[in-house]
Symmetry: C2
Subunit: 446 residues, 2 copies
Amino acid sequence: MATRSTIMDTNSYRPELAGALPAATAGLVHRREQVLGPAYRLFYRTPVHLVRGTGSHLFDAEGNDYLDVYNNVASVGHAHPRVVAAIAEQAAALNTHTRYLHEAVVAYSEDLLALLPDPVDAVMFCCTGSEANDLAVRVAQQHTGGTGIVVSAEAYHGNTALVSGMSPALGTGQPLGTEVRTVPAPDGYRVATPDLGLWFADQVRAAITDLERHGIRFAAFLADSIFSSDGVYPDPAGPLGFLAPAIDVVHAAGGVFIADEVQPGFGRTGDAFWGFARHDVLPDLVTMGKPMGNGIPVSALAARSDVLRDFELPYFNTFGGNPVSIAAAHAVLGVLQDEGLQAHAARVGARVRRELTALAAVDPRIGDVRGAGLYLGVDVVTDPVSKTPDVATALDLVEALRDRRVLTSVCGPGNVLKLRPPLVFDDSDADRLLDAFDDSLRSLPR
Amino acid sequence: MATRSTIMDTNSYRPELAGALPAATAGLVHRREQVLGPAYRLFYRTPVHLVRGTGSHLFDAEGNDYLDVYNNVASVGHAHPRVVAAIAEQAAALNTHTRYLHEAVVAYSEDLLALLPDPVDAVMFCCTGSEANDLAVRVAQQHTGGTGIVVSAEAYHGNTALVSGMSPALGTGQPLGTEVRTVPAPDGYRVATPDLGLWFADQVRAAITDLERHGIRFAAFLADSIFSSDGVYPDPAGPLGFLAPAIDVVHAAGGVFIADEVQPGFGRTGDAFWGFARHDVLPDLVTMGKPMGNGIPVSALAARSDVLRDFELPYFNTFGGNPVSIAAAHAVLGVLQDEGLQAHAARVGARVRRELTALAAVDPRIGDVRGAGLYLGVDVVTDPVSKTPDVATALDLVEALRDRRVLTSVCGPGNVLKLRPPLVFDDSDADRLLDAFDDSLRSLPR
């Protein structure tokens, strides 16, 4: 079975390829290497140099048009005029912090909480999903009196010291926290079980039991309900799906469920505004980030106030909830609603999934196509019987797509193509993706 | 001696004052309390509701003009047109991440590193000072193989789990990390010593010795060279000042010096572009945040690449180094240079310090006025002999200034007024501050 290094260098440019780069690209890559730290990675064997974007389209320095099938941050479309105007207008008026009264942060909080289930009735703002998860874990620990955290086996929850230790996707170089346990993802494609929900609940129960066996009191199950970093596992959803029984186990054990909505939130899955809502479960804490401000740094922790009130430590985030970030976030909410992007994601996503599934039916290299709305995973395997992940072919496919100016990446063990475009991705974009996908598959040696 | 709770609620509004609020303010305060978490604090007994800013001036919903003597984030002035234009222009073009090539992040890095001493030759971008410090600590630990961190007794280095444990200013409710030791601040006003530099070096040496006595290998001294949270201690600076001998001790013990420039950086002290440069010391790692983008979330870790290359963990910050944040940061650098704000801060700051010192000479409640450039501390005491911090009078003074629409706050044990206006603060602003200060002092019972 193919191995992977880390999520950070799956389909990354490698310096040994420098000789093959176009001169202009090579020059900028070289300048970049001189000043940015060695942890920085560029996508693709030939990195793309982007200067402009609109909708689902990105343009390089030479005016070439790329189809963006990757960037969930620019959720309502690159450079959406309403978001741009909101940012520009607020930046020209005032940008300060939450120790002064400001109408916008209150009004946005009201609108955001109206989209969350009733018990979740308070919010705190940060700047990144990492900060929101870092805070959520501490809130969960204060509330439960425990410290033990359960995450999925290839989870990624952020880059602070605390949540890096809860992000096995970072690879074995990053130690997990001593009070962290992992459960395998609810991989309905590979796990042979008559009831994925009971199976997954058993995994979570076993992890909690193991924490307790080590004298560690359980605090929280921290999970992204679409398990994006594990390889995109959306189904079965609903009250009889794979997640609800696990959340019952979490609550019965005295823990809380932190729904990390950085990936599935804000309408992306089409079925519901939040990932947890697809599964009919109630989270105690909800974290959100990436698509929240269409690229402007803004994130949040929403919480049941009975959980949040146990967090008595002072917490102030200078840029958290600043008027410009909030203006961007509020505009994003408005666009999502006014342009009907959740329903649009459901429709276009279903079509892309259906047509990719048809392609897969005649190509044994595609083992599975799954997803919800515009969050799709294409599972590349050596053969459909063993279902062994084929990372090399997946990476070749990503590069073949990039050569056709279609931008994607991989997740899971590195063999799952992650298709996660701006939600405005339309039928003509889908045509282009499907054509390029078919053509790319044909171009690869079988 | 007066005690304080935490930096978070020093001059905060308290809910029991709700009855005394103007109706419009009370309404917004109430709505805010319904949606924001309980950790949120508002400044002042009567919070201010701001809607607009320009230069050093802020305006409330009724059009009243406030003098901003507090906000170092809006470093080049509120809503500076050049920064606003840079944000608006880039937001309309593209806002994405560092896995694609983008000219701006490279060009800004080059310009930023040109302002840093030669050995510091690489940079990584984050969104907040907290994230930059969280990363810096881990880089220091990887490089040295140690884990022990030394900070000052009332330091504040951020809000992530890791750096909260290195922020004693958060109060006793927030435990310090088990591998953290504190040293008293170099308080030249109170510490009786013929040589503050040797004294401070001894404190740092003792902390390192204590770490080693507990089997903890020393990794880093993490300090803001103006010791803002401790109460603003700028002097003596230079090679014969208080910091250089301590840094020699740090390096001799195999540790690194992390210069937290979130407060003194970007020209604020007038004497130098960076706080550490005032002290003629060479940092190994430099973190920066607040004023970097004039309010847009952006922060960075700059480092000696020989230190940074030992950090082999993957690190990716989705919003870190995004083109809009970088555009704001680049515009700020340009304004600082083109408007000569460092020299301006030196001149206006010196004048304010001189005139406040004259006021202090005839008022025994002001024990000390100190500072560098436009970072000033006014140390309020019960009497000039015992030098006992008088928190109650300091808070009354902050409120009296707020009643005159002059915005300040406190630091240190809560008795030191922190004067830290936008760098464009000019002579007429200084006149207004000095008049209000004199008038406020007269208004308080002696």
